[in-house]
C-alpha cells in the first residue's frame, strides 16, 4: 500500500465555509489492531454540499464569554481560520477570586479519569487531601489514573484496543496523530457529545461555552463533536533571550535582519568567558527567512518548505553561524544539551523555545536571582521586510467520555468538566491549581498563591487537563506577563496564512517518517559538513522517497476542499 492517494481517503467536514477535513492515511497500516476498520470512504465524505457544511458549522457550541473575569492586558481576537485568539494576560492575582459556579457540579457519582502527567506523581486519592478537597467542591468523586506523559500513547492504544476505557479519558493531539485508526476507534470508544453540547445545548455548561470556537472545531471527528478541547496559544516558539544580561550590557534586543542577528551574535559571543550567543535557533530562522510552515501554494502548485529558495538562504545563514562558532559547543556536539540550564548559567544568551519555556526558566531562577529576566525578540524577516510567523493548532489535548454511559452520567461528567474549565481568577481555578488556602498554598507577595510543602507533595496538574480553559498568560511575574502579551499581540499580524488553515489533515505516515532523516541531512549542511549546494540533491532525494507522493496527497486535499 504505497500509492497515494489511493491509500488515503479524504473527507469533508465543513466549518464556516472553510471546510474542515480529516485526511486519513491508511498506508501506514493499522496501529489499533483490534479496532482496525476497512479503508475507504468514511461517512460524510465525498460530494459534500453546502448543506453538509451548514450542518457541521452548527456542531460547535455557541461561544458565550464568561463575564466573571477579564484580563487586564487585552489579547487579540483571531479572525484567521483555525487560529486561536491571543487571550490576554493578568498582571495581578485577584484578591478574592469569584465563584464561577453557583451550584455543585456533581451529583455524587464516581468516575475514573485517565490523564497524562509530566512530573512527580501525587499520592493516591485515599492519601491526598488535595484530591479530596477538589472532589468535595465538585460534589463527585474523580479518581485519577495518572500515566507517564511520554509513554502515554502506548497505554492509550492498549486500553482503546482492549475496550478497557475509563469514564473520562484525556488524549493529547500529538498522541492521536500516532494512532493510525483513531477515526474508527473514536466512534467505538467514546460518547458522541454533539447532542449535549451542540449550539445552544452547551448552555448548562457556561465555562465550556467560554472555550474558543477555533479549539472546539478541532474536537470534531467523523462529523460529530467528540471531545472537550484544551485550547493552545497560537505560537509554536519564539527567540528568547536573557533580558537581564542584554539590558546590563546594552546589547541590541531588536535585531531587524538576519545580518543584524549575526552581528549581534559575534558581538556577544566570548568563548573565553564561556559565553555563546546562541543555543539551537534554526527552527526560528525558518519563519525569519519566510520559509512556509509546511507547504506554499503558488501558481496552482504546492511547494514544500524544503524546496523553496528561502530554505537554501536559511541553510547558508546557519552555516555561517556555526562556522563563526556562535552556537554553544554543547549544543553543537550533542542533542541532549539542556539549553535551559545553559541559559540559566548565562552560557547561552539566545535560544528558540515555546513561550512556556520562558515561564519555566523564571520559575526556576527568579527565586534565587530576582534580576533574572527573559524576553522575546520581536519577529523580523531576514531581509528587513515584512516578518512571517508560524501558528500552531487551536487545541492540544482532548477529553473524551466513555461510550455507552447513561445520559445522566454523561451530563454529570460534562458538568465536572465544566468545573474543571473554570478560568484564571475564579475560586474553582484556584482550588484545582493550588488546592486549599492555608493548607496547600498561602498567599505570597502580591497575593499570588505559593504552594506549601503539603501542596508541593499533593497538588498535581490533573483537573486542569480535563476541562481546558482560555489560555491567559497568568504567570506570577507581572513584568514577564506584560512582555509576553505585548509580543503575542505584536506578532499576531504576521501569522502565516497557509493553504491548509482550518483544514485538519492527518499527515501520511510515510511523509512524516521522511522528516527526521531529511532534516539530519540539512543539519550536515548547517554544521558545514556538506556544502549548501548539496541542498538540491537532498531535496530530490526527499521528493523521490515520498515527498512527491505527499504533494499529490496534499494537492488532493486542497482540491477536495475547493481550494485548488
Amino acid at each position: 500500500m504505497n500509492t497515494h492517494p489511493e491509500g488515503a481517503t479524504t473527507s469533508r467536514r465543513g466549518f464556516l465555509g472553510l471546510v474542515g477535513l480529516s485526511a486519513v492515511a491508511v498506508a501506514g497500516g493499522g496501529l489499533l489492531g483490534a479496532c482496525s476498520a476497512p479503508t475507504g470512504t468514511r461517512p460524510g465524505s465525498g460530494g459534500a454540499t453546502a448543506a453538509a457544511a451548514d450542518k457541521l458549522t452548527s456542531l460547535t457550541p455557541t461561544y458565550t464569554a464568561f463575564p466573571g473575569v477579564k484580563p487586564d492586558l487585552p489579547g487579540t481576537v483571531s479572525t484567521l481560520p483555525g487560529v486561536p485568539d491571543v487571550s490576554g494576560g493578568f498582571t495581578r492575582y485577584p484578591a478574592t477570586p469569584t465563584a464561577a459556579l453557583t451550584q455543585k457540579a456533581g451529583k455524587g457519582g464516581t468516575y475514573k479519569a485517565m490523564t497524562p502527567l509530566w512530573g512527580p506523581p501525587p499520592p493516591g486519592l485515599a492519601d491526598n487531601s488535595y484530591f479530596q478537597a477538589a472532589n468535595a467542591d465538585i460534589g463527585a468523586t474523580v479518581e485519577f489514573q495518572i500515566t507517564d506523559g511520554t509513554v502515554y500513547v502506548d497505554k492509550a492504544i492498549a486500553r482503546l484496543a482492549a475496550g478497557d476505557i475509563p469514564d473520562i479519558m484525556v488524549i493529547p493531539s500529538w498522541e492521536i496523530d500516532k494512532m493510525a485508526d483513531f477515526n474508527t476507534a473514536v466512534d467505538k470508544a467514546f460518547e458522541d457529545l454533539t447532542p449535549y453540547l451542540q449550539g445552544d445545548k452547551v448552555k448548562p455548561y457556561p465555562l465550556l461555552a467560554n472555550l474558543p470556537t477555533a479549539a472546539w472545531q478541532w474536537s470534531v471527528w467523523n462529523g460529530k463533536l467528540m471531545a472537550v478541547p484544551f485550547p493552545t496559544e497560537p505560537y509554536p516558539f519564539a527567540l528568547l533571550y536573557r533580558k537581564d544580561l542584554f539590558d546590563k550590557n546594552g546589547w541590541n534586543t531588536n535585531p531587524k535582519t538576519a545580518d543584524e542577528l549575526f552581528e549581534l551574535g559575534k558581538e556577544i559571543t566570548d568563548a573565553k568567558a564561556k559565553r555563546w550567543a546562541f543555543g539551537s535557533i534554526h527552527e526560528m530562522m525558518w519563519p525569519t527567512f519566510r520559509i512556509p510552515q509546511e507547504w506554499r501554494y503558488e501558481n496552482g502548485k504546492l511547494v514544500h518548505k524544503y524546496e523553496t529558495p528561502e530554505f537554501e538562504l536559511m541553510l547558508a545563514f546557519m552555516q555561517k553561524v556555526f562556522k563563526e562558532e556562535l552556537v554553544h559547543p554543547s549544543v553543537v556536539s550533542s542533542k541532549g544539551a539542556n539549553e535551559k540550564d545553559l541559559m540559566a548559567a548565562g552560557q547561552i544568551l539566545v535560544y528558540r523555545d515555546g513561550l512556556g519555556g520562558w515561564k519555566e526558566l523564571l520559575q526556576q531562577h527568579r527565586g534565587k536571582n530576582p534580576d533574572f529576566a527573559m524576553g522575546a525578540f520581536p519577529v523580523f524577516a531576514h531581509d528587513g521586510g515584512t516578518p512571517l510567523m508560524y501558528h500552531g493548532t487551536a487545541a492540544g489535548i482532548f477529553t473524551f467520555v466513555k461510550k455507552g454511559l447513561p445520559k445522566e452520567k454523561v451530563e454529570e461528567i460534562l458538568s465536572i468538566l465544566n468545573w474543571c474549565a473554570a478560568p484564571f481568577g475564579t475560586r474553582e481555578y484556584e482550588l484545582s491549581n493550588f488546592g486549599v488556602e492555608g493548607k496547600h498554598f498561602k498567599r505570597g507577595d502580591n497575593g499570588i498563591p505559593e504552594l506549601t510543602d503539603l501542596g508541593r507533595k499533593e497538588v498535581a496538574y490533573t483537573y486542569g487537563f480535563l476541562g481546558g480553559r482560555p489560555l491567559y498568560v497568568d504567570w506570577p511575574y507581572p513584568d514577564a506577563v506584560k512582555l509576553n502579551v505585548e509580543w503575542q499581540n505584536a506578532s499576531f499580524q504576521y501569522l502565516e496564512k497557509g493553504p491548509f488553515d482550518g483544514i485538519r489533515v492527518q499527515r501520511p505516515s510515510k511523509y512524516s517518517g521522511l522528516q527526521v532523516p531529511t532534516e539530519d541531512k540539512f543539519t550536515d549542511i548547517m554544521r558545514g559538513r556538506r556544502p549548501v549546494s548539496d541542498a538540491k540533491q537532498i531535496v530530490s532525494e526527499w521528493q523521490r522517497d515520498g515527498g512527491n507522493e505527499a504533494r499529490d496527497f496534499y494537492m488532493k486535499v486542497l482540491q477536495d476542499n475547493g481550494r485548488a
Binding site: E233, P236, Q364, G392
Partner: protein
C-alpha cells in the same frame, strides 16, 4: 612481591607500567561518569549552574535533592513496592525456571521437545503490546501487582541457559542417586541444585534486576498510581517539564502546569537511588559469574 612460578619470566618494568596505565584508564573511564553523577546529586543548584551541567569539581554540597525525593512519601512507598515485587517475582521466576529447566533437561520427559519448541518460539516472536494487554486484562490482573510478575515470569533465555547447564551434569551422578531410590524431585533438590549454585545465582540476579527495573509493564497495567514501583515514580521526576522535548509548542504550554522543572541534582539523585541496590548486590553474585563460566571448562 609475590613469588612467581618457575616457568614465568619477571615482567618488565615497562610492561607493568603499561598494564597499569591501561587498567587505570579503563577504571577511570568507568568510574568517572559515576563519580560525576554522585557528585552532581550532592551539589546545590548554584554549583550545578556554575558548572553548566554535570559537576566535576566539588563545590557546595547538599543533601537537598535526596530530601526532596523522599519528602513526598510516594518514593518511599514505591521502594517498598519494588522490593516486594522483586522479592516475590524472583522467587516465583526462579522456582518455575528451575523446575522447567530440569524437566526439559531430562531426555525422557513427557512432551519435552514440543514444549521446548514452544518456549524457543518466544525468542522469535513477541506478541506485542495490545495482545499482551488483552491477555492481562482478561486474566483480571489489571491494577494488580501480579501483572508485573506473571506475564514475564519465565524468560526463555534464562530457561535455555539453565537447561543447558543441567544437561552438562553427568548422567552418572543422577543415575547413582536414582539407584539409591531418590525421587526426581529429591535428585533436583539434593543433587542438581547444589551443583548449580553458580548458575542459579546468576539467573536469580538476572530476574531480580529485571523486576527491579520493571517499568513498562507497570505503566501499562497499573492504573492506580499508588501502586507504582520505583522506576515509574522516579521517571516521573525526571520527566518534569520535559513535555517540551516531545515536539511542538502546544505541549510545552499545556504541560507547563504548576510543576517546577527538576534540578539536575534531583535527576542525578534519582539515578543513584535506582542504581544503588543493583550496585550493592552485584559484587556478591559476581563471583558466581566466573564460577558459572569455568564449570565444565576442563571436563570436556
Amino acid at each position: 612481591m609475590t613469588t612467581l612460578p618457575a616457568w614465568a619470566e619477571r615482567p618488565s618494568r615497562a610492561g607493568t607500567l603499561l598494564k597499569g596505565a591501561v587498567l587505570t584508564f579503563i577504571a577511570v573511564a568507568v568510574l568517572f561518569p559515576l563519580y560525576m553523577v554522585v557528585l552532581t546529586s550532592l551539589s546545590t543548584q548554584e554549583a550545578v549552574s556554575a558548572a553548566g551541567g554535570l559537576v566535576t569539581v566539588p563545590g557546595e554540597l547538599s543533601l537537598a535533592a535526596y530530601e526532596q525525593l523522599f519528602a513526598g512519601g510516594v518514593v518511599t512507598r514505591s521502594v517498598l513496592v519494588s522490593l516486594g515485587v522483586t522479592g516475590v517475582g524472583t522467587a516465583i521466576s526462579l522456582s518455575v525456571t528451575v523446575l522447567a529447566a530440569y524437566g526439559l533437561s531430562r531426555p525422557g520427559s513427557l512432551l519435552h521437545r514440543p514444549m521446548l519448541f514452544l518456549i524457543l518460539m518466544t525468542f522469535l516472536f513477541g506478541p506485542g503490546i495490545v495482545p499482551n494487554y488483552l491477555l492481562v486484562s482478561s486474566l483480571g490482573l489489571i491494577d494488580s501487582y501480579w501483572s508485573l510478575i506473571l506475564p514475564g515470569a519465565v524468560s526463555a533465555f534464562n530457561l535455555v541457559v539453565m537447561r543447558a547447564f543441567f544437561m552438562n551434569i553427568p548422567a552418572e551422578v543422577t543415575d547413582s542417586a536414582r539407584i539409591d531410590g531418590a525421587s526426581e524431585f529429591r535428585i533436583l533438590w539434593r543433587i542438581v541444585l547444589p551443583m548449580s549454585k553458580g548458575v542459579t545465582a546468576v539467573i536469580g540476579l538476572f530476574y531480580a534486576v529485571g523486576y527491579w527495573n520493571s517499568f513498562f509493564n507497570a505503566v501499562l497495567y497499573l492504573n492506580d498510581n499508588a501502586k507504582w514501583p520505583l522506576q515509574v515514580v522516579l521517571r516521573q521526576y525526571v520527566l518534569q517539564g520535559q513535555a517540551l522535548v516531545v515536539g511542538q509548542s502546544s505541549e510545552a504550554t499545556v504541560a507547563g502546569g504548576q510543576a517546577l522543572p527538576p534540578s539536575l541534582a534531583l535527576q542525578m539523585a534519582i539515578v543513584v537511588v535506582a542504581l544503588l541496590p543493583v550496585l550493592f548486590v552485584y559484587p556478591f553474585v559476581q563471583r558466581h559469574f566466573t564460577k558459572g563460566v569455568i564449570i565444565g571448562a576442563v571436563k570436556g
